[in-house]
Symmetry: C2
Subunit: 187 residues, 2 copies
């Protein structure tokens, strides 16, 4: 939130940012955003003023205060925060054996692959649009756009790797299915 509030934005605007550029690695609901903005204002990290909307009712526009910038920089200079990412679908994969049904496991993996494929395609469209709308993309972008580009690039790379893993896994699982069927027909 502090990062986004380098430029003035309303809570509603912030939600749009979460839905657009940040959605690959962070999300937040309006019901979390509004109280947090109020809390941050009480703490002196941001300041608000009223602003007219181009379209729709008036907004409350927040912007980072000096204290907020200091806090943001402190967070950035702490170094990378890693190691706490949860991946729900991996928890499911981990326990697929419990179904004791290789066909169900394979169809699980296929639908995972399909979802991943969709997501990577969506990111690639974002990137190709960016590329065609800005001749500076990617290496001559201003810093404010270059770092977001890096996060997009990682999103594409990771999802691509995940898609390949799905295909690898499917191949391994299909081999196991043949094995199982061979055994069964021996009975």
């Amino acid at each position: 939130m502090l990062g986004l509030l380098r430029e003035p934005h309303s809570g509603y605007d912030i939600k749009k940012h979460f839905e657009q550029s940040l959605r690959n690695f962070w999300q937040a609901e309006l019901s979390q955003i509004y109280p947090l903005l109020q809390k941050m204002e009480a703490e002196g990290l941001v300041r608000s003023r009223h602003g007219a909307s181009d379209i729709g009712p008036t907004k409350r526009i927040y912007k980072r205060a000096q204290k907020g910038t200091k806090e943001l920089h402190r967070w950035l200079e702490e170094g990378p925060i890693i190691g706490k990412d949860r991946i729900s679908y991996l928890a499911q994969v981990y326990f697929l054996a419990d179904l004791d049904d290789i066909d169900k496991a394979i169809s699980y993996m296929k639908s995972l692959r399909d979802e991943i494929t969709k997501k990577v395609a969506a990111l690639e469209i974002i990137e190709s649009n960016w590329r065609s709308n800005d001749t500076r993309y990617p290496n001559d972008l201003a810093d404010e756009e270059f770092y977001p580009h890096l996060t997009l690039a990682l999103g594409i790379k990771r999802l691509g790797a995940t898609g390949e893993w799905c295909e690898d896994s499917l191949r391994k699982m299909q081999v196991r299915r043949r094995w199982t069927n061979a055994k069964r027909s021996q009975l």
Copy 2:
């Protein structure tokens, strides 16, 4: 938790599992595990009995009930849960421009690369130990071990891709630094 409780375990044992094989995609504290076990028992998903420990005080041993197995299978058959993973360090990367200091940004990325390198090395050691202790690894493993192997393989693959992205990003950033310095010396 239901997945793990196919075999009987105490809360303390479950914590060990989270610290070992599941740590790459899921974690939980004892203070979350114990109340949850109690809640699940009240709901009839698991049953508990007392059990002696090899070492240390007696344990409360939980095991999945039929209802728990049903619930686990329902969850698995729902299909993949995706799209809500948060990656804190990407939020940091996104806003690195705010520091307005390419050297700080580069040292951020270097320390990210170092952390990723460490993690991938740790996973590779787990895998190579597994491989040397079990000749069936990976394709002839029993299902109960094969699916955990898949999650380990994805962990390695994703971290590897992330490490490559760090190196790519560092190269791009170093080019930008030279650019900035060239500009500065023109003044």
